[in-house]
């Protein structure tokens, strides 16, 4: 049989331009991850229990001992911090999910397909964003139930929640890099906690930074978790919110600009 006369069947595929492929493929991956949340709801339930326990502990167990300057009620100080803390710890889910797919060989299959190189990351982080919309709404309801009140306006509240979600999206990309780098779900979780704990606890999330030693205050005031928590607090409690919000958004954009390309670069070469 001569190869020159043999007919070679062609693969049944459609060529799409880069942008269209990126959007379609990201949507397909996001859909796949959202099905996971729906089909294994235990994952979602357990990932929301921890922040609820934190609300109850800090509101009722520690809250009595914490004095906030300016006569602000502790529950009003706490809840903006809790929103931020919840999405920061939740971002570990991005690392765990990607590490699981890497370990199972699924990412390897994706990498042999003619799909967008950024879609696996974009789809995963978008699905995690959708989860965070649900989680933040739930935390707002829990906060309301324990006495948290918005002192400004609905518009300010929406702006505050949008900043929380933007920050959660940025943190997802940070943890996408972590997940791909360690390649194992248990290790991802173990590696993330020691980095996250100082960011969440050496911050203005649970206590005013002014109560910390001077050497810690510089870090605790300017690190992203505090900046975002402060911006959310100013938006829902009142005060000049413009500069705080701008700083928070600047952190989010900065994190995204560094970690999104880094994650895609790692995806292309790691698997």
């Amino acid at each position: 049989m001569s190869t020159a006369t043999m007919s070679i069947p062609a693969a049944d595929v459609v060529r799409r331009n880069r942008t269209e492929a990126a959007i379609r493929d990201s949507a397909a991956i996001a859909w796949r991850n959202l099905i996971g949340w729906r089909r294994v709801p235990q994952l979602l339930v357990f990932s929301t229990i921890q922040p609820v326990v934190f609300v109850l502990l800090f509101r009722y167990a520690f809250g009595g001992a914490i004095r906030v300057p300016g006569g602000v009620r502790y529950v009003d100080f706490l809840m903006p911090g809790i929103f931020v803390q919840t999405v920061v710890f939740g971002a570990m889910g991005t690392a765990i999910g990607l590490a699981t797919d890497l370990k199972s060989g699924l990412l390897e299959r994706f990498r042999t397909l003619p799909m967008s190189r950024s879609a696996v990351m974009a789809g995963r982080t978008l699905a995690d964003l959708a989860r965070n919309v649900f989680v933040v709404a739930l935390m707002f309801a829990v906060g309301y139930a324990v006495g948290f009140r918005v002192h400004t306006s609905v518009v300010a509240l929406i702006a505050a929640l949008l900043i929380v979600l933007l920050f959660s999206y940025a943190m997802s990309w940070v943890f996408a890099v972590v997940g791909l780098a360690v390649g194992d779900p248990e290790t991802a979780q173990a590696a993330a906690f020691p980095v996250l704990a100082p960011l969440v606890f050496a911050s203005s999330v649970f206590v005013p930074v002014s109560t910390m030693p001077t050497w810690l205050q510089g870090f605790a005031t300017h690190q992203p978790v505090s900046v975002v928590a402060t911006a959310v607090r100013t938006l829902v409690l009142g005060g000049p919110a413009g500069s705080d919000s701008l700083q928070a958004v600047a952190w989010c954009v900065g994190i995204l600009l560094v970690f999104a390309p880094l994650a895609v670069w790692r995806y292309k070469r790691t698997v």
Binding site: T3, S7, A10, R16, G105, R109, T112, P114
Partner: protein, 333 residues
Amino acid sequence: MTITTSPTVAAVEAVGLRKRFGDTEALCGVDLHMQWGEVFALLGPNGAGKTTAIRVLTTLIRPDAGRASVAGFDVVRDAAEVRYRIGLAGQYAAVDPILTGAENLRLIGRLAQLPGHLIARRAGELLERFSLSDAADRPVRTYSGGMRRRLDVAAALVQRPPVLFLDEPTTGLDLQSRNDLWATIRELVAEGTSVLLTTQYLEEADRLANRIAVVDRGVIIAEGTAATLKSRLGATVIELGLADEAVAARSQAIVDKVLPAPAERENSTLRITSDAGPRVLIEVLRSLDAANLTPTTLSVREPSLDDVFLSLTGRHTETDTGHNGSAPEVKPR
């Protein structure tokens, strides 16, 4: 628009491929040439470099040196073009355990850029073909190992790729699943798919492949049709177990007089390979009987990978070469 593939170039071509992981040289200059319509088998033990070769050819890793192309497209420079033309199924069933079988195939269909109207239809056809229709709407985590593997191979076929890569497709499968998969691979080949597969089993390469390359320590040490490889080796392996090493040595001296080629001795076992098995067996036993020697054990079998290996390298393969359930090859990162 469909992706056309030029028949005047080779399906797969590799020249001087090298790849190193730390201190381990996984590929030390591999040359390959696979024609359209061929089934080409890379045969070798664990750690020989088979999986690394597949990973280079499917654009997953870059070679340190050398070049390779699939359907005329370079696997590094034109990786995107290569991905439009290949399917890969590995020894790990790379499917999502939470999605159902049908959802997995539809997801891969979308990501493989299948036209929308074909996605559901193709998924249905493949589920039918791989006897998974009944389980189509069950989450994959409820599937058996054999079902997962079938789904994995089905997923590699969603876009009907002209070149299919199968990395140890039947490792760890039971006999029935293995035979079913072999039948499916033959059907695909009959429909015009070119297949490059890796295997640890000579029998598998023999049953499926037109051409076999034996891989050892990152190089191809022999290449040819199953018939030529076997004729170099002899079609039958006769093993005689003797009472002890001294008896075995005496027996070796006796049988060597009646054999065209000398027998190999390992401790108290003699191994004779021949393409005239039955006649050789009679002569060997007759000569031993004349010297009042009786073997304690006797086996007559087809040559295994270990025998091919022994004859090519003078070494045994480093792992078990039984036909069921050997450990999967460690995937280099």
